[in-house]
Subunit: 390 residues, 4 copies
């Protein structure tokens, strides 16, 4: 597929994700962490306009000079912007105008992509990966925003993405990795974000890692053994979170009599005990691991072992803080704000989820979120010591 074909294929997927939404749904922002679909649609477009068209196409006329204020996310170098927690208040520009903005930019990109230079190809690649990240955010944000409303409206009877995979319980194995030095990080073949670089050596001690992530059924054991009411499994800040939020179940779960239900993009459905667990935060993942007697892998342990197991169903919390790799260099200019400045107080997740866009995953990918956040499709797999029986 040519870059131009990939461009339109990816851009179309964004539209497909928003198709089931009403015009009003494009404005949903129940909490700061979530952005309105309208904003995602425009922000990803602004990225192409600001970093490519505006810089490299002579005589390009911006669609609307107020849009950078509306749709810049967090790039200090790109000027002032709408406060993040107030994106949902922007009823203007209208949704209709935002779809027109997408068309306008796509037309200009279409022209440019007929004979793109290397520099432009590189930037387009970043822009497409950026849009794919927002595609996953669109799905997680829509799910959260609909759930926040009374009576939990349904996104679609046939959502674009598949369900969490069910695992035959007998399939779990422990994969043993010997002590020694290993290489992790991106090796510069194909696209990667700056935070995956440089590829470097790490020293790992012997460990055993599970061949599959935790299932709903396994987590229900934690719930039913009183896991949410026993401080000893939790980090101190995790325990504070449990008490502040009165947490008793993963996000989107409800108990109806003895049955566990959870909200999906299709509405409320029974929890399948064999399906892979989703929507726990780092505190829950770590508490589960402690309760079970194991621990979460570090991101290096995860990456090294990832050739030996299947992954991609759910983002997997690791016990690694999001910090720069040895030799990491922040790029010059606004693109330098993409990753580096967030390297504090967040934990790394590895893998990919059912909501991750096609062709947007690799085993060196470093996702990262604050430890209290549950709204991503996030679960975990365990590591155990030699002698443990989990």
């Amino acid at each position: 597929m040519s870059l131009r074909e990939r461009y339109f294929s990816i851009r179309d997927r964004t539209l497909a994700i928003c198709k089931p939404l009403s015009i009003e749904d494009h404005l949903m922002q129940p909490i700061m962490d979530v952005s309105p679909p309208k904003w995602h649609l425009a922000h990803t477009t602004w990225f192409f306009e600001s970093f490519i068209l505006n810089k490299y196409v002579e005589g390009y006329v911006v669609f609307d000079e107020r849009f950078p204020f509306y749709f810049n996310s967090y790039y200090q170098s790109m000027g002032e912007r709408q406060e993040r927690d107030k994106r949902g208040l922007l009823t203007r520009p209208t949704t209709e105008k935002i779809y027109a903005y997408r068309e306008y930019v796509d037309e200009h990109m279409s022209e440019l992509l007929k004979t793109p230079s290397d520099v432009i190809s590189g930037l387009v690649e970043i822009g497409l990966n950026h849009e794919q990240q927002h595609q996953e955010l669109l799905l997680t944000d829509i799910k959260y925003s609909l759930y926040s409303q009374p009576f939990h409206p349904v996104y679609s009877a046939e959502p674009l993405i598949q369900d969490a995979r069910a695992l035959p319980s007998e399939s779990k194995e422990w994969i043993s990795i010997p002590e020694g030095t290993y290489q992790i990080g991106h090796d510069e073949d194909g696209f990667a974000f700056d935070n995956e670089c440089k590829r470097h050596t790490v020293y790992l001690h012997k460990y055993s890692i599970s061949s599959s992530p935790i299932t709903n059924g396994e987590f229900i054991e934690f719930i039913e053994s009183g896991g949410y009411s026993q401080f000893q499994h939790w980090h101190d800040e995790g325990w504070a979170w449990v008490n502040r939020e009165n947490a008793q179940l993963p996000l989107y779960w409800e108990k109806q009599g003895d049955a566990y239900m959870h909200f999906t993009l299709r509405g409320l459905e029974p929890v399948d005990p064999n399906a892979i667990l989703q929507h726990v935060n780092y505190y829950e993942a770590a508490a589960y691991a402690a309760w079970r007697g194991g621990r979460l892998p570090t991101e290096a342990e995860w990456e090294v072992a990832s050739e030996h197991f299947s992954w991609g169903d759910v983002w997997e919390w690791t016990n690694s803080a999001y910090l720069p790799y040895p030799g990491y260099q922040k790029p010059e200019g606004a693109i330098g704000e993409y990753n580096g400045k967030f390297m504090i107080n967040q934990m790394v997740l590895r893998g990919a989820s059912i909501a991750t866009s096609p062709n947007h995953s690799r085993h060196t990918y470093r996702n990262f979120f604050h430890p209290h956040l549950q709204w991503q499709f996030s679960g975990m797999r365990l590591v155990k010591d030699e002698t443990q029986k989990l």
Copy 2:
């Protein structure tokens, strides 16, 4: 005009107010005090459905049984409801569905209003006055919500309501009222809210009241003499408000060089010094009066004098707290929650404003708001002692 004709005439005005809005604009709620237009449209309709159709029309089928949860404002006796500060999050039901709801209820009301009983006529009268109150709120809320957005979008080049009236400065006179007993309150001819009753005797001391409200030009003198930075004119809580908000001008005002501009429903326009001042809160009104050497009237003083001056341009802050009249009785049932339970921590405003619906004003009307609120069309007129020159 028959009650049925009045019903449709008033209901139509609500639609006319919302006509210039985009679908998205129907969701605007930048602060708790302001409700989304969508919500006003549905809430006023729910009032007719819940208090009339549902109770008096046999076999009436509610449009949607979830609507009471969505659109009950504050009636504890009518059950649980959406939190007030989260009305703007309700993207569902869609705006389209809400307009359908209005049609559905109007059809049933149309039938009922062909031969209304006295009880129903009484309730319809309350429902129509209630809708008129929300018409003014729609205008004040839309103005506030548009102003809250970047670049201050315009409501309409030809808004439904006229501008603040300009006053020839020579026209101001002091009207002197002699000491003695007077009657105030509603005398039970024609519609009134329960808080205007009972008509009763008050004793007033001699006072002089201005024949016209304060103009922008008069308030500019306060601004330019440093009124917003001199504690001595302010209530203690008013001074705290000034400092917390860094208040320097009335709401919607901006200074461009030496010129005062203000946001109107037509967009940003120069302030006319002869026009009647709007959008000050009680603290500002009281500070202005103290700075000028006068005071605000009590509501009794206002009502007694109101036969001697013209009013209706702007809601006028009084120095009376919103409290029950002698002999006030809260009605039975949900309607009893309309007024009485708000009689604490609010100040009374008298008169009416340019945004008040036609035929919805009378000199016994008691409007009330918390003292820090500016978003109503609110100003004031002064009272002075015998010997003062203001």
Copy 3:
């Protein structure tokens, strides 16, 4: 008693109130509304130093030039000061130094009071009344602060003030007051605060007022009939307060099995059902009245009837907002900040309480607090309509 004798008699009472406290207790400030005993001791002294010694005694040397910053309460005209909610952080100056400050000022005052001018006598009178107000606050603040601590330490086995009076239940009568004009307010014989002036005419409608305040036993009927869980008795903001605080009992009350206990200055004791109710806020007082089918008196009704009943056991919430009387004039200068600037969002209480200093009560006295506050010795008496049986 000469003014000089009164001065020392009143100043001594302040010391007597603080006598049972440990040095550390002098620092207690669990909430903003409450001030540390140390601060009361110094602030009342600063009042004499700043408004009298510093202005009228030639060559007077202030005890410490930093004290005005520490001990000015809210007088904007007297300069910057310590934030109110951070008075408890002032470990310096030490308690010892503050007692020395009192001695230093008292010595200078002693000299001055041998031959005081009329101006000075007037200011001393204000200063002594001011100190008496703080004596009551000292008692209410100490009670609150001790109760806020784990295990509720006792103030004293023999506190300076007597218990709430017990009332024989048969003693209650309804006193009927005929419709007509009455005079209220201070008539300028003897000391009064500016807010009690001017004496003026009011018009009252016929009412009946109880000869005694509500007792604990009467309030227990309200509690046990579910009063705290029935919205219909409450103001909207009162109901929000009930839910926010999970209010179920008056302040300082606890239920042990079936028994009602309450914290007193002597520690936890059983509630005497015949004793006069204390420590309810305006919301509770108004809800009780509504539940019982009566209402609170206005302050004019209270004052006019007060010659016909005994009062002084408990501050009685009225249904009057704290607003200026007709003809009220704020004094010039810093003393003008004493009362006028607080005339918003507060309700008037009348009478006096067991904690009020001797000779500091009169039937024109206007006390005032925000409606949610319970920590004063506050209760109420009821008014009823002609035809009601309460």
Copy 4:
């Protein structure tokens, strides 16, 4: 020195630290992160009573059964406790009683320490290291609390601890460490906290580390080049901190004309440009490093290099998150709450400071704080890449 001698020597140092304080100063708690001296005095004592006397001395009678509620810090397994941010409200028990508590426990410990078993020796060792940690906290908390007060009272003209060391500027060298595997962590000779274990292998890439920490003069260059107003040096959360706090200087610094002054335990003094920088948080340390073109070391880099430079003047922020070492095991019981549950959202500091107690430092020690906190004696040293000139 015998364990018994060490016990009394360390316990005495705690008293010496508190000696310059007034009784009231023992109550200071201006912010949650800081505890009152009184509380430190009692909490360290409670540690010996609860974990040793109460468990191992037959017939031991606790000094006061309410003390565990007052003085338990965060041990969930030891029961309910006073909220951390309200320790300063505890005027009871009095300071005098707390000193009596120390004597009571010391007497019993004295007896026990004549012939301590191995188990007891081990627990006493933890208790003494625990007390030494609180000795440093006492000094940092007292400094912060005095500074929070108006007019910044002085702790002592001759404080127990020395000043920050001045460095000759020519003395700075870059120490180069070759790539390869290294061992870090505690090797189980002598006392260490659980978080320093197990000793394990790490792989380091080549780096150069400065022989000395950053000085005030070096940091002034950052300040004067506009470092606090240029977003590009800062983490996103760091930049938010700068703006929220309007940060412009390290904690305790003030600018008087052109001169930099800072608050010390002796009061306000001029900043010595050659002295080692103190009281910056992680955000400031990282921003300085980025501005200078270098970076902070990881804790492994710091520990490996620490044999080649002098340290101990200031806690040095590293770029490592506080996470468990490979093979880390949380101890059983309450002691297991000492470290592990805090391993989230905090950054590691290495070394020791002028406020660290004698004999309480080692190069494997892992100190940790949230990235926004400045009140510890905290600075940093830089690492640079091969080719950089810093």
